[in-house]
C-alpha cells in the first residue's frame, strides 16, 4: 500500500509493506508501532530506534507531537492524492466569513454591532477564559453581517461569534 505523506512542505512516498516494514524512497525500515494504554500515545521502533509520539487525528490530518515538536501530517492514498489536490485548488473562500471562537470562554463584550464597517485588526469580541481576557479580532476588512453572541454568553471552541461580509 503506497501513501503520499505531506509534512509542512515536504512530501514523502511511503509504502507500507505487510511484514512490519516500510519503504521510504529507496530505504526500507523495520517498524513497530504500539499503542500505549489505548490512548493517543504510541511507542514506535524504527530499525531499533525508539520514539514516542502523541498522535491525534483532526479533520483528516494527523497531529504528531514528537520530541517537543508538533508536525501536521497529511496522509493520502498515493493514487488519489493528485485528484484531491486538484479539487482543493478549486475550493475558494466565499465573501462571507464566520469568525469562530478560538477557545471556549465567556463573552465579556462585543464592541461591534450589525452593519458596522470593520478593519482588519479591529476587536470584534472579548472572551474570558481561564481568567485571561482574549480579544477576537477581524482577520480582514469587511462589514459585520450578524452578531451571534452577547455579553455573558458561554461559547464553545469553534462556535461562530460574528459573521463578516
Amino acid at each position: 500500500m503506497k501513501y503520499a505523506v505531506t509534512v509542512k512542505d515536504q512530501t514523502f512516498t511511503i509504502e507500507v509493506m505487510p511484514d512490519e516494514r516500510v519503504r521510504v524512497g529507496d530505504h526500507t525500515h523495520t517498524v513497530d508501532l504500539q499503542s500505549i494504554n489505548d490512548g493517543f500515545l504510541y511507542s514506535l521502533l524504527i530499525d531499533n530506534n525508539s520514539y514516542e509520539a502523541l498522535i491525534e487525528e483532526q479533520e483528516g490530518k494527523y497531529q504528531v507531537l514528537l520530541l517537543g515538536e508538533l508536525y501536521t501530517v497529511q496522509v493520502e492514498d498515493a493514487l488519489r492524492s493528485q485528484i484531491t489536490r486538484r479539487r482543493r485548488a478549486r475550493a475558494r473562500p466565499s465573501g462571507r466569513m464566520g469568525i469562530k471562537a478560538p477557545m471556549p470562554g465567556l463573552v465579556i463584550d462585543v464592541p461591534v454591532s450589525e452593519g458596522q464597517e470593520v478593519f482588519a485588526g479591529d476587536v470584534l469580541v472579548i472572551l474570558e477564559s481561564m481568567k485571561m481576557e482574549n480579544e477576537v479580532r477581524a482577520p480582514r476588512d469587511g462589514r459585520v453581517n450578524r452578531v451571534q453572541v452577547g455579553p455573558s454568553d458561554t461559547v464553545e471552541k469553534g462556535q461562530i461569534l460574528v459573521v463578516l461580509e
Binding site: K8, I14, V24, N37, A53, Y62, L67, P104, K131
Partner: protein, 498 residues
C-alpha cells in the same frame, strides 16, 4: 491550630493540604460545583460545597468560606495564592470570626496590597523604586502621568499579583483602549480596578526574595528567585539561585527585602520583587503578600518547607531558622505547566485529561492539581501543574529538566510543554543571558526541524493511518460504531446518577 480550611483549589490547594497532613493537622477543602471530583476534595479530610463554578460565586465568596470554616470547626484558613489570598477584607473576616488567617495581618495586606501606595511607603524609607505613579488616580490623571513618564511603560493593577492584568504600552495613542481593558481585567481578577503606571525598564531581570517573618519580630530571607522568563507578564520558568546575583549582591538585596518586610510590619511568608538592571542596580517592584507559585524552587535549594513554616508561624510559634541557618545547596528550576496550546497562539485548552504520565525520579518534583479523568474547565487558571527539578549545578538542573519534560505526557488537553522544551534548548537561556523581554525579543517556537524527525513523524502517521484503514476495511468497523454508542449511553447514565 488543629484543623485548617484551605480556601483554594488546584495544585496549590493540594500543596497546602499535604503540608497540613504532614503536620498532623486535620484538613477541610471547599469546592465549587465543577470541582466535586477535584484532587483537593479527594485529599482533604472534609469537603464543603461553596457555590457554582464561577469563582465570583464560590472561591471569591468570603461569606461562604467563613461559613464552611464554622460548620467544619476549622480554626485556621490558608488562602493559597490568587483568589482571596491578598484581600485584607478576607483576612479581617477571618479575624472577626476568630479564625487564624495563614498570612499577614489585614493592615499589612491593605497597605502592601495597594501596590501604588506600597511604592510610596517604600520610597520614603529609602527603598529604590522605578519612576511611576504611587497613588490611586483617575483615568485623566493617569493619562497625564503617562505623558510625563513616557513610553514604554507598564500599566499594572494596584491590587494585582502574578502578572495578571498587566499591560505594556508602547504608543501613547493606545492608552485609552489599554487602560479600559486593564481596568476590566483587574476588576474581574481582583475585584478592584485601580491601576498604576511604571516606566518600563529594558534589559532588566526580575529578581525576587522569599521572606519569612514570625509574630516575635524575626524576619529572614531565603535568598532569591530569578523569574525573568515571562510571557504576557506571566512567569513561565523560574530558577534559584540567579546567575546574576553574587553573594555580596544577595546580601544587599536580601537586607533590603527584609527592610521592606519590616516596614510593612510583615508576618508569615511573602515575596519582595525587584527589577535588577545590567549595572547591578535594583528597584523595588512590589510585595506579594502570600505564598508564591514558584516557592518550590526555594524549598529545593534551602531544604525549608515554606508552607509548613507558614502554618507554624501563623499558630504563633517562633521561626525555626535564623538568617545564618539558611544555606543554599545546588540549583533549582521550575516550569509552569499550563493548559494552553503553544502551536495555536497559546489559546487555553480545556477538556478531560484522558492520559497522564508525570515525570519522576531523582531530583524531580511535581506539584499537580490534575489526574487522569479530571476535567479542565474554562473557569479557572490554566496552571495545571508545576514541574521543578534540582541539580548540583545549573547545568545538571537544566539537563534534568529537559529529561523530565521529555517524560511528561498529558493527553486530552494541549499544554505548553513543547514551549518549555524549546526555551530549554535556546542557547541564550542555556547561557543564562536572560531578561524580562527574553520571550518577546527574538524567541519563537522553532520552525526548523530535524529532517530525521520529520521522517519519523511521517512514518508514525502513515502507520496509524494504514492501521485505521485496514480496520475500517475488515473487522473493526462494527467495533468502532459500538464504542461510540457506548459512550453516548454512558453519558446518559452519568446524567441519571446525578
Amino acid at each position: 491550630m488543629k484543623k485548617v480550611l484551605v480556601a483554594n483549589r488546584g495544585e496549590i490547594a493540594v500543596r497546602v493540604l499535604r503540608a497540613c497532613r504532614e503536620l498532623g493537622l486535620q484538613t477541610v477543602a471547599v469546592y465549587s460545583d465543577v470541582d466535586r471530583n477535584a484532587l483537593h476534595v479527594r485529599y482533604a479530610d472534609e469537603a464543603y460545597p461553596i457555590g457554582p463554578a464561577s469563582a465570583r460565586e464560590s472561591y471569591l465568596c468570603i461569606d461562604r468560606i467563613i461559613e464552611a470554616a464554622e460548620l467544619s470547626g476549622a480554626d485556621a484558613i490558608h488562602p493559597g495564592y490568587g483568589f482571596l489570598a491578598e484581600q485584607s477584607e478576607f483576612a479581617q473576616a477571618c479575624r472577626d470570626a476568630g479564625l487564624i488567617f495563614v498570612g499577614p495581618r489585614p493592615e499589612t495586606l491593605a497597605m502592601a496590597g495597594d501596590k501604588a501606595v506600597a511604592r510610596r511607603i517604600m520610597r520614603e524609607v529609602g527603598v529604590p523604586i522605578i519612576k511611576g505613579t504611587d497613588k490611586e488616580l483617575s483615568d485623566e490623571d493617569l493619562v497625564a502621568a503617562a505623558h510625563r513618564i513616557g513610553t514604554p511603560l507598564k500599566i499594572k493593577p494596584a491590587a494585582g499579583g502574578g502578572g495578571k492584568g498587566m499591560r505594556t504600552l508602547y504608543r501613547l495613542q493606545d492608552l485609552n483602549e489599554v487602560l479600559s481593558a486593564a481596568r476590566r481585567e483587574a476588576e474581574a481578577a481582583f475585584g478592584d480596578g485601580t491601576l498604576y503606571l511604571e516606566k518600563m525598564m529594558e534589559d532588566a531581570r526580575h529578581i525576587e526574595f522569599q521572606i519569612l517573618a514570625d509574630h516575635h519580630g524575626n524576619t529572614i530571607h531565603l535568598g532569591e528567585r530569578e523569574c525573568s522568563i515571562q510571557r504576557r507578564h506571566q512567569k513561565v520558568i523560574e530558577e534559584a539561585p540567579s546567575r546574576a546575583i553574587t553573594p555580596e549582591l544577595r546580601q544587599r538585596m536580601g537586607e533590603m527585602a527584609v527592610r521592606v518586610a519590616k516596614t510593612a510590619d510583615y508576618t508569615n511568608a511573602g515575596t519582595v520583587e525587584f527589577l535588577l538592571d545590567k549595572e547591578g542596580n535594583f528597584y523595588f517592584l512590589e510585595m506579594n503578600c502570600r505564598l508564591q507559585v514558584e516557592h518550590p524552587i526555594t524549598e529545593m535549594i534551602t531544604g525549608v518547607d515554606i508552607v509548613k513554616e507558614q502554618l507554624r508561624v501563623a499558630s504563633g510559634r517562633k521561626l525555626r531558622y535564623r538568617q545564618e541557618d539558611i544555606q543554599q545547596r545546588g540549583w533549582a528550576l521550575e516550569c509552569r505547566i499550563l493548559a494552553e496550546d503553544p502551536y495555536d497562539d497559546f489559546m487555553p485548552s480545556t477538556g478531560r485529561i484522558t492520559g497522564l504520565h508525570e515525570p519522576t525520579g531523582p531530583g524531580v518534583r511535581v506539584d499537580s492539581g490534575i489526574y487522569e479523568g479530571f476535567d479542565i474547565s474554562l473557569y479557572y487558571d490554566s496552571l495545571i501543574a508545576k514541574l521543578a527539578v534540582w541539580g548540583e549545578t545549573r547545568g545538571e538542573a537544566l539537563l534534568r529538566m529537559r529529561r523530565a519534560l521529555e517524560e511528561y505526557r498529558v493527553m486530552g488537553v494541549r499544554t505548553n510543554i513543547p514551549f518549555h522544551q524549546q526555551i530549554l534548548n535556546d542557547t541564550r537561556f542555556i547561557g543564562g543571558q536572560i531578561d524580562t523581554t527574553f520571550l518577546e525579543s527574538g524567541f519563537s517556537m522553532a520552525e526548523e526541524d530535524n529532517p530525521n524527525d520529520v521522517e519519523v513523524a511521517a512514518i508514525a502517521a502513515v502507520l496509524l493511518a494504514h492501521r485505521q484503514r485496514q480496520r475500517t476495511l475488515s473487522i473493526i468497523k462494527p467495533q468502532e460504531d459500538q464504542s461510540q454508542s457506548n459512550w453516548r449511553r454512558r453519558g446518559r447514565w452519568e446524567a441519571v446518577r446525578r
